[in-house]
């Protein structure tokens, strides 16, 4: 009986060790979760050949309540593509894409802002224990508000009934 008792102690210690080292339930950054809309900018003069064309001093701001401010990484930058996060709580998201964003000597904002509306159907897909669900977007449609002075000439989806499932592929082409 005595030696049985002596064995019990290390066995209990071993069990407690196993219990305390469960895998951390933290969503890894490499996991594909909710994707952003990936748009690329092309030259409107060569629509048939898709020649990439930079947008100069592009500033992206979302329209929402509360005001989300400027999209991080898009404060007057020159780029030939952009990643726009979409709202997972609503069926549309609006952005102001401001080209040639700068101030004159009197502090007045110059350049050309265009407002776009992205509408879509949301679908929640299970990812994992740690990440929960992600939202994917189906039937994504971009419309450009006509303000009489649009720098965006043409918007074209890459596929019919465009879906946004991952960020690697370009979803929309914007010609200017």
């Amino acid at each position: 009986m005595k030696n049985i008792k002596l064995i019990i102690i290390p066995v209990i210690v071993t069990f407690l060790t196993f219990l305390s080292c469960e895998k951390d339930d933290i969503c890894s950054e490499t996991t594909e979760t909710t994707p952003s809309l990936h748009v690329a900018f092309y030259d409107v003069n060569f629509t048939s050949t898709d020649t990439p064309k930079n947008v100069t001093r592009l500033r992206v701001t979302g329209i929402g309540d509360p005001d989300p401010g400027v999209l991080s990484g898009y404060d007057a930058i020159t780029s030939k593509e952009a990643y726009l996060p979409l709202k997972t709580t609503e069926n549309s998201t609006q952005y102001i894409l401001h080209r040639n964003y700068r101030f004159d000597d009197n502090g007045v904002v110059l350049g050309n802002p265009d407002t776009i509306t992205i509408s879509y159907v949301r679908k929640e897909i299970y990812v994992s224990r740690a990440c929960g669900y992600k939202t994917i977007f189906e039937n994504v449609v971009i419309t450009v508000e006509d303000d009489g002075d649009k720098w965006i000439q043409l918007v074209q989806a890459v596929n019919d009934n465009q879906t946004v499932e991952n960020e690697n592929d370009i979803h929309y082409k914007i010609y200017h």
Partner: protein, 243 residues
């Protein structure tokens, strides 16, 4: 840092275990020579019935768990036992993005092999065994949230509609090691550890089994599972037989 401590604990306990194993061996050696006397001890054969105390205790102290298990074994020969368990579990899994309730019952059946050479007059077990386990259960997704690495728009979508996935089942195999010690006449207490491997399971549509009754928590990395038990059982002796 945590990992180093963990390794240290494992090594320490294994070292202690080895030391005690060695002493056990040594003591047994000395007994063998003294066993030449003519007294013959008869060992009890019968049905041992019991329950799992750890699941009962956990039901009281853990708000997210309710469960019990009854277990039984029947001695076939000097070393071999047929053994089985039946249990019911209700476990809630909550993290930042999921709130899930798993309910169901399970049944396990298999054999145990007693590797312990008892001293004169004792009937303890230090055993290893194998089980096949099966469970039927349901999962209720009480609420979930959407994860987005980009937090420009906040908060992200959450749903608390509640969705039930019922009629799920799973089958697994498991190795079990443990001890059973007779503390009073025919009354045993035991400790065991289980290592499980999933053979087949129904996965719910657009979701997964986070917990399975009897199998316990599932892991993203594979079909492995772990368990432990603290049992108390009573032997109903049917007959006695010489060693």
């Amino acid at each position: 840092m945590k990992m180093t401590y963990t390794i240290k604990y494992i090594i320490n306990s294994l070292a202690i275990l080895l030391v005690f194993c060695a002493t056990t061996q040594a003591q047994n050696d000395s007994i063998i020579s003294a066993k030449t006397d003519s007294i013959k001890h008869k060992e009890s054969y019968g049905l041992r019935l019991g329950g799992d105390l750890s699941k009962l205790i956990r039901s009281f102290i853990d708000d997210e768990y309710k469960g019990f298990e009854i277990n039984a074994d029947y001695r076939l020969s000097k070393k071999w036992y047929v053994a089985g368990e039946f249990g019911v579990e209700d476990k809630t899994t909550i993290n930042d993005y999921l709130n899930v309730d798993t309910k169901g019952s399970y049944f396990k059946a298999g054999v145990d092999y007693n590797a312990y050479e008892n001293w004169y007059g004792m009937e303890n077990m230090l055993y290893g065994g194998f089980r096949v386990g099966a469970s039927t259960f349901s999962q209720t997704l009480n609420s979930y949230g959407v994860y987005s690495q980009n937090q420009y728009w906040t908060p992200q979508f959450t749903s608390s509609e509640g969705k039930e996935f019922s009629g799920l089942s799973a089958i697994w195999g498991e190795f079990i090691i443990g001890i059973k010690a007779e503390v009073l006449n025919n009354l045993y207490v035991g400790l065991n550890a289980q290592f499980k491997y999933m053979m087949t399971q129904d996965q719910p549509d657009n979701f997964e089994n986070l917990y399975i009754p009897g199998f316990h928590k599932t892991y993203d990395s594979g079909g492995f599972g772990f368990g432990y038990g603290y049992s108390i059982s009573y032997l109903i002796p049917f007959y006695k037989k010489n060693k």
